[in-house]
């Protein structure tokens, strides 16, 4: 079992770091880069949902926080040391609001990408898990959170770009974003981060914490009588998942070149979950692979059959969740068992 996992991990690493760059065009590679960002989110959801039983339908929020922090920094650094981002001059007062200023600094930005989603998730987790809001309640609440966050961003046209979001970045930490070499570099970074996240989650699964998380998932109240506070156990997984989403969002911005509320609301947040469900929620590699495969299928199928995609996506989702609750990776383990 463990060897299968290792083999799968090595195969994934080789595919991402060696095979993909060798055979894919710059355009396809950057597409794959975007999918890898989704995969990073998916790894976090796998932890929170697959292991921890928290069906989070609001990962778009954390993805968005990471992405907007990064985008703000890129906008500011494109504008120059004291410059004002273009859209603020067009639609706003022409001055940079105070809460943007810290993100001129690359250090603050990188800290922000990790800490802001972590703090928001921590605060929310405290509010929600301490009060024993769980199951469907939690799922619906997290979904409403995504809706509220998107509406909030849309309403702040002059400081967040509203529905347009933020885009038109020229450089990434002073690397020219129009240079194909730099774009490849971004892909390697994203792939490297995904692999690193997988290692982290792998360790969590193997650890005592991983066992405890499963215990909390299945019998939260019972765990209390052993002297643990299940809220803390859940918060840890939730925060880790949020940080992963935040980092993914931050990588998404230079790779795709735009972040807008449309990429973080209710629908994208559910879409994040699809890949996880299809890949296999409680496995290590399933969520990541599922996310990549679903995004890839969406892009290539919708190229040829735009309306067919809706049926296909819907049907895939229905069939896998209803009939293969452990996702497609259950098929793989089934074959191993019979082999």
């Amino acid at each position: 079992m463990r060897y299968w996992r290792l083999a799968g991990f090595v195969a994934l690493a080789l595919a991402l770091l060696v095979l993909a760059p060798a055979v894919l065009s710059d355009f396809r590679l950057s597409l794959l880069g975007r999918f890898v960002c989704y995969a990073i989110v998916a790894v976090g959801i796998g932890l929170a949902w697959g292991r921890g039983g928290m069906l989070t339908l609001g990962q778009g929020v954390f993805f968005g926080l990471g992405a907007y922090v990064m985008a703000m920094h890129l906008k500011l650094s494109d504008a120059g040391p004291t410059g004002v981002p273009d859209f603020m001059r067009l639609y706003g007062s022409g001055t940079v609001p105070g809460w943007w200023e810290p993100f001129r600094s690359p250090v603050v930005t990188i800290l922000g990408i990790v800490l802001i989603p972590a703090l928001v998730a921590f605060g929310l987790g405290l509010a929600v898990f301490r009060r024993r809001v769980r199951g469907a309640y939690f799922a619906i609440l997290s979904q409403a959170l995504a809706a509220a966050f998107a509406i909030l961003l849309i309403g702040q046209q002059t400081t967040t770009g509203g529905t347009n979001g933020l885009n038109g970045f020229r450089s990434f930490f002073r690397f020219n974003l129009f240079d194909p070499v730099n774009k490849r570099m971004l892909f390697y970074i994203a792939a490297g981060v995904l692999l690193a996240m997988l290692v982290i989650v792998w360790q969590l699964y193997r650890s005592r914490y991983g066992e405890l998380l499963v215990a909390v998932r299945d019998q939260e109240e019972r765990v209390r009588f052993l002297g643990y506070d299940p809220a803390n156990v859940k918060i840890v997984a939730y925060v880790v998942a949020a940080v992963m989403a935040g980092i993914a969002g931050a990588l998404f911005v230079p790779i795709v070149g735009i972040i807008s509320p449309a990429a973080i609301g209710v629908v994208p947040s559910i879409a994040f979950v699809i890949g996880v469900a299809i890949g296999g929620r409680s496995t290590l590699l399933g969520p990541a692979l599922g996310a990549i495969v679903v995004a890839w299928a969406q892009t290539s199928l919708s190229e040829s059959f735009p309306s067919f995609w809706s049926y296909f996506q819907g049907a895939l989702f229905v069939l896998v969740v209803a009939f293969l609750p452990n996702g497609l990776s259950a098929l793989a383990s089934l074959r191993r068992r019979t082999a």
Partner: protein
Amino acid sequence: GSRVDDTAGGTASASSCVDTSGASVKVGFLNSLSGTMAISEKTVHDALQLGAEQINAAGGVLGKKLTVVSEDGASEPTVFAEKATKLISSDCTAAVFGGWTSSSRKAMLPVFEGANALLFYPVQYEGLEASPNIFYTGATTNQQIVPALDYLKEKGIKSIFLVGSDYVFPRTANKIIQAYAKANGIEVKGEEYAPLGHTDFATIVNKVKAAGASAVFNTLNGDSNVAFFKEYRNAGLTASAMPVVSVSIAEEEVSGVGVDNLVGQLTAWNYYQTIDSPANKAFTTAFKAKYGEKRVTSDPMEAAYTSLFLWKAMVEKANSFQPNDVKKAAGGVSYDAPEGKVTVDGENHHIAKTALIGKVGTDGLIHTEWSSGKPIEPDPFLKGYDWGKGLSS
């Protein structure tokens, strides 16, 4: 890789990969065929298909048939950016036609500028933009909103209420309207925004009713219009007592909102299906022949259709498909469009268009009430208006 400091501006001018060696040349159509915007953008896509067919039937562009590569923008800016990249760098199309929402255009803009490719954008928008790589064939504000305000002022309207969806076009439009109103002695009694897709307008209509303006300027988009107009009517407000001028309701939308709810209300556009001209007759006849009698034509459809012919004329003038050559040749190119004669402005890449105020009839079509009479030169930054000075800092 290169640092920003290595290249002067930060934009690489990738050379176009357009292949003109064969008997055909590729063009890209990029519209939302799925998602919330599909309702509108599908019609634009249909109009573009018709145009491409007609051009091919007439021998193509520079003797080359057009091969259309269609992509779905899926109503998501990110997807627009991604598909634009694909059409430019993978498919090597000579030009891309499409986009509807301003957010989709804003998302594509850096892509086209970065690759030095061409986008033809067919929808009225909020102005304050002029990319060298985009041709704007819908109205800018001084060709739609400003004439609508002129019309209201001419009718003696002294106060207005602004209702819009919460996104860039309505917010910018309203900023312009506020500036105009201030300069022209019109009182703005209120300004309300509803999130896109908002479905309950009881409160907003309450506010409108309580404010008692003499007209409403409506920049709502999509489904919200249905809810707004139903509520408006339920609340006992009428077109004769307090007319609503809409800038996002075209022929396509009328039946969805309900003719009953719209009869007598005003719209501002540059084209209506009811325009009586040979060019429009040819266009509507061909369109209905291809897609069915029941289908209607609308301003964005016409602007998209026209954009294809404008591009053809530019290419033929330049005698080249290369974007740089096309851009150079663009200035002054004109076309006898269904809406009337349009001419490309070589500086800002917008086109001169005639402004029309229309009234919704019981037949569900929109009939011209008022016309600017001649094409209005595009002024995306409203430099020609005193009150417009502060708008683009």
